[in-house]
């Protein structure tokens, strides 16, 4: 990542559907319009589970 980037833009760049993940920046949950600093640690956590129901 070259510089600060909005979460939604980051997910678009990675071709990840926002509905299917949470974004955790430096240990904190953030919204889609939050800005991710270039030096941040970002976790994109999948939320879709699907086994036997």
């Amino acid at each position: 990542m070259d510089g600060p980037l909005a979460v939604s833009a980051l997910l678009n760049r990675l071709d990840v559907n926002r509905e299917s993940v949470l974004v955790i920046v430096d240990g904190s949950l953030v919204t889609g319009n939050a800005t991710v600093p270039a030096s941040a640690t970002v976790e994109i956590r999948p939320v879709i589970s699907g086994g036997a129901l």
Binding site: N17, R18, E19, I48
Partner: protein, 301 residues
């Protein structure tokens, strides 16, 4: 983005509601949605004893936490399915949660009790792993609740689960399954009531609830579920949801409000043919119930 309720900075956006929430207001939102679901579908009352089916994943642990927070008498049920290290790990999450809340966790170990695990049982019965797993869990949820004298079994099925199941049932026009797709399945002879208090929360919300409330859950997907049809339905629905927020909720609750009353007779007709299985006593429409057949096939290998 600001919290819709208090205008403090939001930590989670829920596009379906066109809203953001701060941590405390999001927890209240989840709690309110569950309360509304329990009350509107008359799932259970404050005196009822609830057995929560717990897998160690986000949905079931969020559900158990919310029910305890709301003051319900909720115990957990963990079923060891024998899926290698995944089962070992998921059981650990369930046990640690129970210990942290001083809550009671009932445990059933499938291989130790019935002599098969999901990988071998599904192969023996020539069923898909998720099919053998679902069949085993449904039987054991019911039998454990009956043995323990519980009033209802609560599962962590969320809005995404139910919308995906509905999608699959509609694609096949499976009238029996459509008739049974309800947030509450009433109890009866040999059946404990089954309830789904999370149907108004998406799985992104249950995951966010766990992250915010510090509930440690198994993030990895079950290795046997990889590539299954249900996950494909969820991905398809999320594609629609991303361009049209609220579509999943409209699909599910439109069905429950308008179509479900029309298709319930199909399920009622099936239920009239039930009789006790000679092997285990569980209600079945077949000569021997599907669970006993699975156990027999797995043990004959």
């Amino acid at each position: 983005m600001k919290c819709r309720v208090c205008r403090e900075p939001a930590v989670i956006d829920v596009r379906r509601h066109n809203a953001g929430f701060c941590h405390p207001c999001f927890v209240k939102h989840c709690s309110d949605q569950v309360t509304r679901t329990i009350e509107s579908y008359r799932m259970f009352g404050p005196e009822d004893r609830i057995l929560v089916a717990v897998s160690g994943g986000k949905d079931s642990l969020a559900l158990w936490d919310l029910l305890l927070r709301l003051g319900y008498r909720a115990d957990g049920l963990y079923i060891g399915l024998g899926i290698g290290s995944y089962s070992d790990e998921s059981g650990g999450y369930a046990r640690r949660f129970a210990e942290s809340r001083s809550a009671h966790l009932v445990e059933v170990d499938l291989p130790a009790t019935f002599g098969y695990d999901i990988p071998t049982g599904s192969a023996a019965a020539r069923r898909a792993p998720c099919s053998a797993c679902g069949l085993s869990k449904r039987h054991l949820f019911n039998s454990a609740a009956l043995e323990g004298g519980y009033d209802a079994v609560a599962t962590g099925h969320n809005l995404d689960d139910e919308a995906a199941v509905l999608f699959g049932n509609v694609l096949r026009w499976d009238m029996g399954y459509l008739g049974r797709q309800q947030p509450v399945l009433p109890g009866g002879e040999g059946f404990v009531r089954k309830v789904k208090p999370l149907v108004r929360l998406g799985e992104r919300e249950t995951a966010a609830y766990c992250v915010l409330e510090g509930i440690d859950y198994i993030v990895e997907e079950c290795p046997m579920a990889e590539g299954n049809r249900h996950l494909g339905y969820k991905n398809a629905l999320n594609e629609i949801e991303s361009t049209s927020p609220g579509s999943k909720a409209a699909f599910l609750f439109g069905f429950l409000d308008r179509i479900s009353p029309l298709v319930q007779p199909a399920a009622s007709a099936e239920r009239e043919g039930l009789h006790p299985c000679p092997g285990c006593g569980s209600p079945t429409v077949a000569e021997v119930c599907a669970f006993c057949k699975l156990v027999e096939r797995a043990s004959s290998r």
